[in-house]
């Protein structure tokens, strides 16, 4: 069982690598995958001394940062989606259930409107702060003597989200000519990402993954209910809080880098569960890989195939929504 998981992880890692190679070659200037591999390898070996022809500039400075960011964000959203579904005991939860997206959106809107600041920096910083504030607001609202219950968390998430949505509408109303910038940001995009974003998301993802994977087995027990989990040796209170904060931070970083990208965090863990089963020790690494592959492919399609660079968040929702409807319906018919 464990060996087959390892094999699957290796196979899909290789597939992901190949997709990165191929998609780096696609675009306005098309470059064969062999040359792409050559450029990447020589830049790794020779560092900055590598010859800078037009192809290597396109690959290394333009396409690769965007491609890697989209893959990492895909993995990050899937990771936190898996965690939220596990903690909230709800296969339909997603990284945005606890109001993280609304908080980020509100923060980003403020970031755009603040005078005398460069939106390039102020937007991600404020988006991150907004996500954090809304998260702690939700945790504060739902904590009681008996600890955090999943129903309270979901309900608090809905409350905070709806308040913030109203606040965002108000900010849009105030924004006048900048309203289109805000709207565009909210729809998510990987356009003009740099190596800074790659590093930021990569470090977050690695740390987040290590924390979550450490508690993966405890997450299995939590799905049997708090009492059973505690009496089987899990400190449910502490594990829930650590995982909640970890997953929310991953989401907050992803959102502040890419805007709001829906359905990945909901759909990917859900579909991966069919292949790996619900055991989180298999589910978590596999759904990260699938998420990376899926979001990278989606971004590549918007970048190369579609006539306009449409916002990735709109694309994933337009494709993911109907797919999810189909899956949901299928499962209902199987159950009956």
């Amino acid at each position: 069982m464990f060996r087959s998981t390892l094999v699957m992880i290796c196979v899909f890692s290789i597939i992901l690598g190949l997709i990165i190679l191929v998609s780096s070659g696609l675009g306005y200037i098309s470059i064969p995958p062999f040359k792409v591999a050559n450029i990447i390898l020589s830049s790794i070996i020779q560092g900055k001394q590598a010859a800078k022809d037009i192809h290597s500039v396109v690959i290394l400075d333009v396409r690769l940062p965007r491609i890697l960011t989209s893959a990492i964000v895909g993995a990050g959203l899937s990771l936190s989606g898996t965690v939220f579904q596990g903690i909230l005991l709800n296969p339909l939860a997603d990284p945005y259930t606890l109001g993280v997206s609304a908080g980020a959106a509100f923060g980003a809107a403020i970031g755009f409107l603040i005078p005398f600041s460069d939106p390039v920096y102020s937007v991600p910083v404020f988006a991150f702060l907004g996500a954090l504030c809304s998260l702690f607001m939700v945790i504060y609202l739902s904590s009681s003597d008996a600890g955090l219950s999943s129903n309270h968390l979901i309900l608090s998430g809905i409350i905070v989200t709806s308040i913030l949505s109203a606040a965002i509408s108000f900010l849009k109303y105030l924004a006048n000519e900048q309203v289109s910038v805000i709207i565009f940001w909210l729809m998510g995009s990987f356009v003009s990402k740099t190596w800074f974003e790659v590093n930021l998301t990569w470090i977050t993802l690695c740390i987040g993954f290590m924390i979550v994977f450490w508690y993966a087995r405890d997450l299995n027990l939590i799905s049997l209910g708090a009492k059973t989990a505690v009496t089987t040796g899990v400190n449910t209170q502490r594990v829930t809080l650590i995982l909640l904060i970890t997953a929310s931070l991953i989401t907050a970083i992803c959102v502040s880098v890419s805007g709001i990208i829906g359905f990945i965090g909901l759909l990917v863990p859900h579909m991966t569960r069919w292949i790996t089963g619900p055991d989180n020790r298999r589910l978590i690494p596999m759904s990260m890989l699938f998420g990376a592959i899926l979001l990278l492919c989606a971004d590549t399609i918007t970048r190369t195939v579609l006539p306009h660079d449409i916002p990735i968040g709109v694309f994933t929702a337009l494709i993911g929504g109907p797919v999810f409807c189909y899956i949901f319906r299928q499962q209902m018919t199987i159950k009956n």
Partner: protein, 257 residues
């Protein structure tokens, strides 16, 4: 017989109302205790405290001579296992995966279960008659089947103390009896503490009763002595007649208001 639990001056309150007040008792090894009392008297809260799920506000709970708070959770999991009241499981774990979760306290975080673990889980599933659907998903099982799986999971924990929180509440008569037969058969190695509603069922299986009312322990005696009309009237406010039923070889109770 040695005391496995010693409880002294136990008090427990949720934020603003008292639930348990000044409880003092000792539980002995190898017995089958039934905790009984009217709705809302604090039975389940008491079990939550004994199992380490909740911490008391005041008082001491000594488990094998040591304060229960000094045990790390993963050590406690090797001493006490719990079958909770109806559990909703939202993820499609297979029956075998669920039962194997009972072995987690004995397996390292990132290790695979050993052959011994698999054999143990297999024999438990055989005993509890769930082997035939071992590879089915729990989300597809009926309530009664699922409860047996959760019971098997607790058995797989292989602990000296087994606690049941109305564990048979949603089982039919056949599986209620089968499950309680298994439980009382394991009594030579285990101490059993069960919250129960059905006095007659408890009278067949328990050795001792704890009668609770309004957060207080009112009577605690062996089943033979505790089953009398006065006590039952005191606890439940009903009139009762107690008789010996030779068909099942146990005392039984009939009541009227």
């Amino acid at each position: 017989m040695t005391a496995i639990f010693e409880v002294q001056h136990l008090y427990f309150a949720y934020s603003n109302h008292d639930v348990l007040q000044n409880m003092n008792f000792a539980l002995l090894q190898g017995k089958f205790y039934g905790i009984l009392g009217p709705n809302g008297c604090g039975k389940t809260t008491l079990l939550d405290i004994l199992s380490g799920y909740r911490k008391v506000n005041r008082g001491d709970i000594m488990l094998r001579g040591k304060n229960i708070n000094t045990y790390p959770k993963h050590e406690l999991a090797k001493i006490i296992s719990v079958v909770a009241q109806q559990t909703e499981i939202h993820f499609p774990y297979t029956v075998q995966e669920i039962v194997m979760m009972g072995r987690y306290p004995y397996i390292d975080r990132f290790s695979q279960p050993s052959k011994t673990d698999y054999d143990f889980v297999y024999s438990i599933m055989e005993q509890t008659d769930i082997l035939s659907f071992a590879h089915q998903s729990v989300t597809q099982l009926s309530g009664g089947e699922k409860q047996r799986v959760l019971f098997a999971r607790a058995m797989a924990q292989n602990t000296d103390i087994l606690m049941l929180d109305e564990a048979t509440a949603n089982l039919d008569i056949h599986y209620t009896l089968t499950l309680l037969d298994w439980v009382s058969m394991s009594r030579h190695t285990k101490t059993i503490i069960a919250v129960m509603h059905d006095i007659n069922l408890a009278a067949r299986y328990c050795t001792d009763f704890l009668f609770m009312k309004d957060g207080k322990l009112i009577h605690m005696e062996s089943v033979d002595e505790i089953l009398n009309a006065d006590y039952i009237h005191e606890v439940y406010d009903v009139h009762a007649k107690i008789y010996f039923e030779s068909f099942i070889n146990a005392k039984q109770v009939v009541y009227k208001r």
